[in-house]
Symmetry: C2
Subunit: 431 residues, 2 copies
């Protein structure tokens, strides 16, 4: 019985597994480092306290429990043995006849990994929770501190990177300051918070048309976001960012600037591009290994347009579905057909009532674009329960201007852990 | 203008603050270490993946934002200066005319603080998330491991302490194994998990009548929980627990055995009982300090029955409301009346359709008791939104036997953190 091993339970891996569910005489193993499939397009909502982690994440195991021929194992693939066809994981070896790598991408700090500590990226639930903790804690600290300089530093938020994630984060912070938090504080004016969006290129959302990009910039500015284009960050530390000679003092810097594919492809000796993505053949297989495939953000597929496909959920889903069909047909004795990506357009949201949508030549912006954005995202949210709860959460948020999940959750859970002695503070908060 | 400082935003502190909201000529400051009020009676549902943290926790700031005379500051009180009437916090000094301590309780390991690492208690959201991570990870690890001994260790869950929290945790694990997880695994039979509830005394739920306690024990046993009474734990380590000479090998031990009041009372030189609770006068004030009060789990009030009041939400709420009235009346020139606790009964739930309820002589158990339990808990959940979402979540859970929040969230959010070299495993999971 052919053994198919899928590494990664994102959009590519999950759709591939579903396509092989209950197919006779096929044994599927899905490996993932986490226990959940994450609906990444809404992750910024968790970071911005609009949704809870469980609203956008579902155990992979329960999404696939109806398929008897699929087993799900939580674990990490450390390396591949391509001579004897097994993967070495942190819990043992797993043999395969077909292997599909769909491990996705992580943030890249362009060689400055030390920046991560000061400027978290947004790829995992843990990072989203950390960003939420930092943003909300900055307001809390500003409320209890007396120094005007310290307050200014705490109420300055910097988002690095003007792609969809950066735009969504900056818009959400601007909106949260202006509306949600405005009435909750006594000592500070939350609406006076400064939100900076830094983009190295000449405009934000470069994958959209110039017209749409300009419209998004105007919408962001209405939410109080200042956009600095042509701004290459040269340093990030605990006190802010530097752009050449200029320093922005800020307590909260968020990173949405660059991604890099999982290192497993390169480590296995596969040919990769500059972002570490594995260069794949027309059937998504790796050159020289017709039984090894790469899909989703980890793959560099250039056969259709000459340029790599975008690292988006639709591309990953289509690749997963394609590979399921390819394997089914190959096992039935048919030959392989090349992968063909159907571009269904792109969209990005700005705050709670604006978006930009582009489908081919069709362009839309403003409130109706936002309605399309919300319908598409709810439609694709995996699992009925999440969809219903998310709609209610959004409806509530929309009507009340509140955010449902404004929790600061600490990293340490123990009481009795040895804590470094707190220095007695000198700043006196008493009024 | 009299300055009233409340330390702690639990049931006592929050109800006190609300009672002083918009009262003319009173300035209220509420200090809390966290930014949220926690609905602790449902915390076990977060630990057991039935609810998300945001379902049972709301920012204190937003609960009190309508009251202009109340400011909320996130911070920790380190010590008190009772000669000059100010509290020293981690961000500076806060002066008061009235001070109310309502800092609650934490777990006590009876002098064995080193047990905490191996047996988390359930008092905070962080601990609930940690317990969830441990319980769900045990099933995941059991699924991918081949050794029968290791599996047995992973599928043995020990809950120490047979009070309401221990009963709720053990019942929920039993139910989760038997129903929710049963179909999701391929290599293990989740329903074969062993759940042990250890109680040092002669019966579980000792605060209930013998008849109710026996009924709860039968209900728990139907969910596969083994109850060991008269079992005093003498050691806990990473491999399980010891009861005298007997060792139970278990990967997951949970602590619900003892609590201890916040140390601030004792550190301030107040008279405390064995659990560290401050012994209060009939008006909840501290002897010798008529302007300093203690309420909730931190207080030991014995004037009514000769025994301390139970550390429950109703007792804390009533004390908070009483103190608000006392302060309002005292400022209006009236004299103090003693606190009088109205016992509204007690209840505990066992799994998703059983409970025990006792109100004076009225006793109820089984499904109808559970209906009462759920109605009371939803009624008291703070904030309309949470109530509605929790009802939907429960309805969904009930109808589908699923659990909505089965996420394993790691403690570390960074990718580029220095990780100790993983040892290459020798156990081979391939079948």
């Amino acid at each position: 019985m052919p053994r198919i091993v899928i590494v990664g339970g994102g959009f590519a891996g999950l759709n591939l597994a579903k396509g092989l569910g209950n197919v006779a005489d096929v044994e599927v193993t899905l490996l993932d480092r986490t226990n959940h499939h994450l609906f990444q397009p809404l992750l910024y909502q968790v970071a911005m306290a609009g949704l809870s982690p469980a609203d956008i994440a579902v155990p992979i195991r329960s999404l696939l429990s109806q398929y008897c021929n699929i087993r799900v194992l939580q674990g990490e693939v450390l390396s591949l043995n391509l001579d004897r066809n097994f993967a070495i994981t942190d819990f043992g070896e797993v043999c395969f006849d077909y292997l599909i790598l769909a491990c996705g991408a992580r943030h890249s700090y362009f060689g400055h990994d030390e920046w991560e500590e000061h400027a978290p990226g947004l790829k995992t639930l843990e990072q989203a929770t950390e960003i939420r903790r930092r943003v909300l804690s900055a307001y809390e600290e500003a409320e209890r501190i007396n120094s005007a300089d310290a307050r200014k530093r705490l109420l300055t938020f910097v988002v690095v990177g003007g792609g969809p994630t950066g735009v969504e984060l900056a818009g959400a912070i601007g909106e949260m300051s202006r509306f949600t938090l405005a009435k909750d504080f006594r000592n500070i004016d939350a609406a006076s918070a400064r939100v900076l969006l830094l983009e190295a290129g000449s405009r934000i959302l470069p994958m959209f048309s110039e017209q749409q990009s300009a419209r998004a910039a105007r919408d962001l500015e209405q939410l109080g976001v200042q956009i600095w284009t042509g701004s290459v960050v040269t340093k990030i530390d605990g006190d802010g960012v530097e752009i050449g000679n200029e320093r922005i003092t800020s307590a909260t810097v968020l990173w949405a600037a660059g991604v890099k594919a999982s290192t497993l492809g390169q480590a296995s000796g596969f040919e990769v591009d500059r972002q570490g993505r594995v260069i794949v053949e027309t059937d998504l297989s790796v050159k020289g290994y017709p039984h090894v495939f790469v899909a989703g953000d980890q793959a560099c597929f250039t056969h259709q347009t000459g340029k790599p496909l975008p690292g988006t959920a639709p591309a990953a889903m289509q690749q997963g579905q394609y590979l399921a069909q390819l394997i089914r047909q190959e096992l039935a004795g048919h030959s392989r057909k090349p992968f063909h990506f159907v571009d269904k357009g792109q969209m990005a949201t700005i705050g709670r009532s604006r978006a930009v949508v582009e489908v081919g030549r069709f362009k839309l912006s403003g409130f109706f674009a936002w309605i399309i954005w919300i319908v598409v995202h709810i439609y694709f949210l995996t699992g009925f329960k999440n969809r219903l709860l998310v709609v209610l959460q959004w409806a509530w948020s929309y009507l009340s201007f509140r955010r449902g999940a404004r929790l600061i959750v600490n990293k340490e859970w123990r009481f009795h852990v040895a804590v470094p002695q707190t220095q007695l503070p000198t700043d006196v908060a008493q009024q």
